[in-house]
């Protein structure tokens, strides 16, 4: 019994590290975009397109890191599209996000069809379990370098928001566009850049999906992870470091079903599949309030108004 629990816990730890990485990148990207006062709901589409482009680029070039870069560039393209459209007056960023989500998914499925069959080179992992004799712990601690890149990036982002001129510019634009304009900052340009960089990060998150875990490209690869990551940013109160913690929590929830399967509990498989969605919804209910807007929310967000 205790060994079963241990197996589940180890599998969940490994699963949390694996499953959380795409959440982490999408959440960091969305965090950056929302810090500048704009919501990009289209990151689900960016994630799927990133996964497809990464797989295709890795297949053709033979180098998975080329795939990661290509996914980032594809994500930037979608982000720049969202950013420039929302820069026009009277355009609703939430609605454009929905459209970009459908568009991104459509483009990914359109060009992704020939890549469902072939196998592309995948990203390697770093073995952190060398000190342990347990095979399950060893396999759980096969960590992808992107996981660490994400953590470093989060720390860097948190530091930049606080200590650099660029961080101040982004936060000012996000909290009060009028104040930013008075300082001579081009609000639209800043938001275009943050949305583009946010798209890059979400694209890299997609690359992780197709090149590391689950590690193949198919049309059911992401079902709502991009959307959940957007919700996660609210929960993380627009703080990059808290985004990492939240991503790990979501990763653990996503790993619950497969972990239980590893010890033979297969009942309620679909229920455990739904666990991350239910957790997201539960967290949104718990952390939102009808009376006042969420803590630390950038003042310019359309959700806040």
């Amino acid at each position: 019994m205790t060994s079963d629990i241990l197996t589940v816990l180890i599998a969940m730890l490994g699963g949390a590290i694996r499953v959380s990485t795409p959440f982490m990148f999408v959440a960091l990207g969305e965090c950056l975009t929302e810090k500048s006062g704009r919501v990009n709901l289209g990151l689900e589409g960016t994630l799927v397109l990133g996964a497809m482009v990464a797989y295709a680029a890795s297949y053709h070039s033979g180098n998975p890191w080329v795939g990661v870069l290509a996914a980032g560039l594809a994500g930037s393209a979608l982000g720049a599209m969202h950013g420039s459209i929302c820069g026009l007056p009277r355009v609703n960023d939430v609605a454009v996000g929905i459209a970009m989500m459908l568009f991104g998914v459509g483009v990914a499925f359109f060009f992704g069809k020939p890549y469902i069959q072939p196998t592309a080179p995948r990203l390697g992992s770093i073995s952190l379990g060398f000190w342990s004799d347990s095979a399950s712990l060893k396999s759980a601690l096969q960590v992808n370098p992107l996981f660490f890149i994400g953590i470093v990036l989060a720390a860097l982002m948190a530091w930049s928001f606080r200590n650099t001129r660029w961080g101040l510019v982004v936060r000012t634009v996000g909290d009060s566009a009028a104040a930013a304009r008075a300082m001579g900052i081009s609000v639209n340009l800043v938001r275009l850049l943050t949305t583009t960089v946010g798209g890059f990060l979400a694209g890299v998150g997609g690359a992780f999906l197709s090149l590391s875990y689950p590690g193949s490209w198919n049309q059911g690869l992401s079902s709502g992870q991009g959307l959940m990551a957007v919700a996660l940013v609210i929960f993380a109160r627009w703080d990059p470091l808290r985004c990492i913690g939240a991503a790990l929590l979501f990763g653990a929830a996503g790993a619950l079903g497969p972990s239980l399967q590893s010890i033979g509990i297969t009942q309620g498989y679909y229920f455990f599949n739904a666990a991350p969605y239910i957790l997201t919804l539960g967290i949104m209910i718990a952390t939102s309030s009808a009376k006042h807007s969420a803590r630390d929310m950038p003042g310019e967000l359309s959700m806040a108004k």
Binding site: V94, A99, V105, L281, S293
Partner: protein, 379 residues
Amino acid sequence: MSDAPVVTGASRDLIGAGSRKAGSDFALKLRANSEYIAIPLLALAIAAALFALFLIAIGKSPVDFVAYVWRGGFGTAFSFQNTLQRSAPLILTALAVAIPARIGLIMIGGEGALVLGGFAAAAVAIPMIGVLPPAFTLPVMAIFGMIVGAFWVGLAGYLRYARGVNETISSLLLTYIGIAIMNFFVEGALRDLSNPNKPSTKPIGDAYMVGKIPGTDVHWGFAVGILLCIALYFLLERTTFGFAARVTGGNFRAALAQGLPVGRLIVACSAIAGACAGLAGFFEVAAIQGRANASLAAGYGFTGILVSFLARHNPLVIPPVAILFGGLVASGGLIQRRMDLPDATVLVLEGLIFVVLLTSETLYGRFSIFKPPTAKDRT
């Protein structure tokens, strides 16, 4: 209080001006309203042009594409009836977006309400098949599907009002949860074990299927959709309820200050939306599939979002737009086979139209041709 005389004075002025130029009043209205037709049409044309360029870039002929959409969706009596059949769920899921939109919510949970509503209809039918007559069973199925759909989207509306949860995100999350719930039952407790190919509920049987509209090959869901569009148009435009909902959508704080039951309005609009989508699910089960399975999540709920936006959330405009997209969906198979394009081609076109359409929002009020002459003088 001091504002009151000024307001009446101004409105009396307007009435005076109106009666003096009663003849040109209609022309002015037409001029102002034609903007709402011209700009979406322009957006459609631009999206079509971009899509044509896309097809040329990948070495396919846009002319062929149009020809196949025409043949597969509109050209023959058979294909047009197929189109109408497919536009039925689009009408209903578009209503599921349009009604909340009028109260200021961007609700995109139609797909989930369709799936769960269809599943609920199929599930409630299981004990009644062969026991109770279809004339009793079918209405119970429809009502059950509508109630479950209404609850599902109503929940997102309630969370929006009571807890301030973003309804766009929560309704899409509920869609994923709804699909998972259906899969859970369809692969488990309610699985029809005699059908090993695809996990489904027990078939409801031919005797219990919804019939066709006499003289056509189109099921009744289409007619019900049209009737609902008309009924909901009147609800929104000609009743106190609709007026209160539109006031709330226009200015939430003003509605609150006026003492309107904002919470009940939001939940009611969301529930009506969910009921429409649930009804779409019922018709998919009782008129097309005959059982509930994963085929219910065919993306009608997502295309419905685009239909509603293109119709500017006006229930009376939804049917023609839905027929247009029904034709596109119906011709998807033909395009796939004859032009060797992936089935996602329709998705790309839809996404493109959606993006261009939302971009075109920025054009409103920019063309002086649509402005009444007086308004131009004033500015």
